[in-house]
């Protein structure tokens, strides 16, 4: 089959690889009908996630059709149309049973790496490096889905892939970001980052009762989408002082809840950017925590920081003083998709949210490398490019 393989930093190629096969009883093989890029992939492209190996198939946000099931798969049969959670959970460990699926004890095939890096290994993720299990990803014609009964979900009929594919990753991530905020009626929620994840966080914040959402980015097209599709008030951080603006907009109080939907490659300007870039390049710090720093300062006293932007290792100049003295609550994590996906499919089926507006480009898998270049450089107003094999 055809697959998009990582071959080194910023080196993606479409290659011919063998078709996947059932390796364990609880596996299913899914024929991919649509597979999306995600901001998380950029961390792979840019080399911030170690343990990638040349030839690894990337991609983790996808929808398709079941073509084969292992003997242990109970929920699905050939022909079922399914959306699959980007993160793999076994369903049998204490964390999965607690509904904290991305903390699964068992789905990571190589826990020894994260056991050392994080203290305890977290779940396996499709197409996301060997530290996260080394699973082949979804930018391919077929994909093997381990623990299919847990990770795959039959989709409602009559809806196109475009509306459903983001229920795999961007929507549950954005929804979890809002959920972790513990929003109380009337709360003001500030969202850093207006990519697919940020857009979904904005919609989710309103679903969960926010009074007001303020979205922050620098790309006008993305801010425009946040405004039109998400009813967010918007701030371009290149044009205004975000801290001052947020304070002013909230009557001197500060946003109640702050969402980081940017992560370790946050963009900044001036001295701060120079400082972090140098340190990151030398691998003295592994993230550029500009958004985190700003969100901690911006958040109201006693407020909540909800972090779904991905971080990998060490951060520098972390404003612990303000966080501690303002008694902030930190919530964070990779998404627990299995917890949210059934509910989100209902929301999409009922037409409350149609996530297809974050899809800006529909290309073929052959155009994978160019698609990623466009997504990375955010040219042609690209928010998310999806590939059809």
């Amino acid at each position: 089959m055809k697959a998009l393989c990582w071959n080194g930093v910023n080196d993606l190629r479409v290659e011919r690889v063998p078709d996947p096969s059932i390796l364990n009883p609880k596996d299913a093989i899914v024929r991919v009908t649509m597979s999306s890029v995600c901001g998380s992939d950029l961390h792979l492209l840019d080399g911030y996630v170690p343990t990638m190996k040349a030839g690894d198939i990337i991609g983790h946000e996808f929808i398709g059709e079941v073509v084969e099931t292992g003997s242990g798969v109970k929920k699905f049969k050939k022909g079922d149309r399914v959306v699959v959670c980007s993160i793999i959970g076994c369903g049998g460990c204490a964390h999965c049973l607690d509904n904290d699926w991305s903390l699964c004890d068992n789905s990571n095939t190589k826990p020894e790496y994260l056991d050392k890096a994080f203290g305890y290994a977290t779940a396996g993720i499709f197409g996301y490096s060997h530290a996260f299990g080394g699973y082949a990803g979804s930018h391919a014609e077929y994909i093997r889905v381990p623990f299919a009964d847990q990770g795959a979900f039959k989709v409602p009929e009559g809806l196109p892939d475009e509306s459903l594919v983001f229920v795999s990753d961007a929507f549950p991530t954005g929804f979890m970001a809002a959920d972790m905020c513990g929003i109380e009626p009337g709360d003001t929620v500030a969202v850093w980052g207006c990519g697919g994840v940020g857009q979904m966080a904005i919609r989710s914040a309103y679903l969960l009762g926010a009074g007001r959402v303020i979205a922050i980015d620098r790309f006008e097209d993305r801010l425009q989408t946040a405004k039109e599709q998400g009813k967010a008030e918007v701030l371009n951080y290149e044009k205004v002082d975000v801290l001052e603006a947020l304070k002013e907009m909230t009557g001197g109080r500060g946003p109640d809840r702050c969402i980081d939907a940017v992560g370790l490659e946050a963009h900044t300007t001036g001295v701060e950017e120079y400082y972090d870039k140098v340190k990151q390049t030398l691998r003295i710090e592994t993230g550029r925590p500009a958004v985190l720093r700003q969100a901690i300062m911006a958040c109201r006293k006693g407020g909540t920081l909800s972090i779904v932007g991905v971080y990998g290792g060490l951060l520098d100049k972390f404003p612990m003083g303000p966080a501690m003295n303002k008694a902030l609550t930190f919530r964070m994590g990779q998404q627990h998709g299995q917890r949210y996906i059934p509910e989100l499919l209902d929301i999409v089926a009922q037409g409350k949210v149609d996530p297809s507006y974050i899809l800006t480009h529909k290309w073929t898998l052959d155009q994978g490398p160019e698609g990623y270049q466009m997504f990375k450089k955010k040219t042609d107003n690209c928010m998310r490019v999806v590939f059809t094999p």
């Binding site: 697959a3 996947p20 009883p25 690894d56 076994c90 049998g92 460990c93 789905s107 050392k116 082949a136």
Partner: protein, 249 residues
Amino acid sequence: MDTYDSRLSEILRTARISPPSTGSSRINVGTKERMASTIGGALMVYYGMRRSDKVGVALALAGGSLIFRGVTGYCPINDATGRNTAGKEDVAIEITSSLTINRPRAEVYAFWRQLENLPRFMSHLKDVQQLGPKRSHWVAKLPKGVGVVEWDADLVKEETDTLLAWRSLPGSDIDNAGEVAFVDAIGERGTVVQATISYRPPAGDVGGGVAKLLNPAFEQMVKQDLHAFKQLLETGEVPTIEGQPSGRR
């Protein structure tokens, strides 16, 4: 303080079983060259993966240990280093590690007690056969298909749902012993399994030295085996990526 539960601290790491010291630790397969490359390969694989800083924390079964233990016991090492191993006292290497498994204690114990199950999660074991109520026969694979090592072992402690310990019989390819304790986790969180695996490197300086060098690798292997045990019990399978497609050439 009223909620303090001392069971775990009382039970874990109390008992100890040592491998016999029969002086028979030796390996009897392969040519010198093959053995040398086995060690080289194993070192590269495991050391390349990243050196462990904390040596001496791990658990599980004799399986893999035997290999390294066996490999290091083989005289070509001594040939290669030109050292004389005669006349030095031997040391037992011991690794302990624990994991919590989200299944009832009786089930976890029963799975381990069925010794034929061990190769399903101990990747370096080829086969274990129960020969009688207490006696079993073990076959472990050497890396790179160089051959196998075999020994008989006896269960020396068996407390249903609580404790299992075994020890190889004198005259084995590798003197080794293992002990596994099964304890209810506090607050209905399943079963804590603590395994202690020990083996006796061959007598002498080089044997002990090389064994120590390989300890992190051994520790890693023991941990992997214990994790596979947990995966098998909690999910019914051991997740793998072996055999999946990639663009690697």
